[in-house]
């Protein structure tokens, strides 16, 4: 019977994530990929403000914690200073698609040779469940108690589709944590994103649809089902941009 081991890509610190949250799975996939690509010892992680703020304790590499939304700018500074290092950001939807939209868009359009892992769970988790830029129409949150009314609160942002239009983006894929096959696909996407960076081809991002059972008010199993039933139809999975062969420049 195969044994299941902790990946060396993560430290032994127990994460603070809520039961049933899929942040832990995404962390593990990144840790596995960095280990398999043998780049962990030369990797700098940039962690956000949000649920993953303490990820600097979990990734087994050098890390800097960025101001809210600024991770792509911080990563730009790191990468320009250390062009041979592997540099990634790990950001939630509020961080990447609301307060940090400008930093995200411009890092992508510059073709900044970094990898962005974008965790989209359609809610602000850390502050207790407010509307996110990716909250679905009709979705109930603390700040949309009657459900997100697009007439008042506007529409959700589809970041992968938007960034795919930019010339600097080399690889953009949206994946999901709702099932084992999707998790396997997610790992391949994360690996490809880092390979894109290692080959110097330009900006790469993997958007990961993730769960927040606590703030959605669901069991972990129902939360996975909600991703499948509600999120995937609004945020279709797939590769939105692939210029990994030719590069962006």
């Amino acid at each position: 019977m195969p044994e299941f081991h902790r990946t060396n890509g993560l430290t032994e610190v127990a994460t603070h994530y809520c039961p049933g949250c899929t942040h832990g799975v995404i962390h593990r996939l990144i840790g596995e990929v960095l280990t398999e690509l043998d780049v962990l010892s030369n990797t700098i992680g940039v962690v956000p403000v949000g649920c993953a703020v303490m990820a600097y304790d979990y990734f087994n590499c050098d890390c800097v914690q960025a101001p809210h939304g600024r991770a792509p700018a911080v990563a730009t500074g790191v990468k320009r200073a250390l062009p041979d290092a592997t540099v990634f950001t790990y950001q939630g939807d509020g961080d990447l698609a609301a307060i940090g939209t400008a930093e995200t868009v411009h890092a992508a359009t510059r073709g900044e040779n970094i990898t962005v892992i974008f965790v989209n769970n359609a809610i602000y988790g850390m502050t207790g469940g407010q509307m996110a830029p990716t909250t679905l129409p009709g979705q109930v949150t603390q700040t949309t108690p009657e459900g997100r009314d697009v007439h008042r609160a506007g529409f959700p942002v589809r970041m992968s589709e938007m960034l795919a239009t930019l010339d600097g983006a080399a690889y953009i894929e949206r994946v999901s944590m709702d099932s084992v096959p999707h998790i396997r696909t997610a790992k391949k996407a994360i690996r490809k994103a880092f390979e894109t960076q290692l080959a110097g081809k330009g900006f790469s991002m993997v958007e990961v649809l993730s769960t927040c059972p606590t703030n959605w008010g669901m069991s972990p199993v129902d939360a996975l089902e909600w991703v499948k039933e509600k999120m995937i139809p609004y945020y279709p999975l797939g590769v939105y941009k692939d210029r990994t062969k030719e590069g962006v420049f």
């Binding site: 700098i44 800097v64 914690q65 101001p67 600024r70 700018a73 500074g77 930093e103």
Partner: protein, 358 residues
Amino acid sequence: MPQKFLMKGNEAIAEAAIRAGCRFFFGYPITPQTEVAAYMAKRMPEVNGVYLQAESEVAAINMVLGAASTGARVMTSSSSPGISLKSEGISYIAASDLPCVIINVQRAGPGLGGIQPSQADYFQATRGLGHGDFHLMVFAPAGVQEITDLVAQAFDLSDRYRVPALILADGMIGQMMEPVAFSEQSPHPAEKPWALTGHRNQRRPNIINTLHLSPDKLEQTVIERFARYDSICANETLCEQMLTDDADVVVVAYGAASRIAKAAVRAAREKGIRAGLFRPITLWPYPSAALAALCETTKAFLCVEMSMGQMVEDVRLAVNGRRPVEFYGRTGGNVPHPNDILQAIESAAQMAPQNERR
């Protein structure tokens, strides 16, 4: 004899930074500091450095944060409204104990204000360039030559104390041209074992972080940082004094205002008024002890600023009620005229206690 160049203040800032070993510059265009960026854009490729025009001041300061995290010498430059935008990142940089140099070529505010020179960002620079308990080292050059010396010093001290440094110039200092000679001294970069360079399987991961949820832990980090501030206050305070030994009226002014004040002090001497000039070069730490010592000999102080009166509070704190402290200022981008300062000196001389022992 070292070669002399005729340079704008803004260009001297950029060249001095490169000679101090700065190889990373992140900026955003704003008048009246744009020559810093333009010079960097041309010069950085010649030294294999990086010039990057960011999408915003907010992004630029966070690129500084990233590059500084790797241990590199890095700089950004802006003018007043842009510095306000950088304040979030500056607080994080201070809390991360990262060295870097930030340039503020002040223009008039508040709001979009104007593009003429001003000194109205003194409070912001010395009291609160961001949220939380922290300080920057603040240097105020009064000429192009001094810019080059202070920029070099700012990089060295920022590295040594792990405290970000701010050069507080203004549109006049940035735009004026003067002959300048660059120091032959090489930079003194510090060891940076904390830098993010990849752990190379040789050490535990380095973490640069400003989140401390435990009040005790957070308090401890702030107290440790303030201990470094104490040694900066003890060792790194700079000021210049001119004709203060026998002065009845000491004019206190920094940067561009001090140049005009100097002319007014000379004019006062010609009229028989014993005037002198005290020029703070570091605004934080403030040269309070040297200023307070003048209370022994002087009868009155006159603070001259291109603002409604900001540094005058530090003058009053140092003088602590022992002598009258008068103020003369212009704001909105206006520059005081030497005759107006002279009048203020004359009026301060009359208001000074007449019957005191000299």
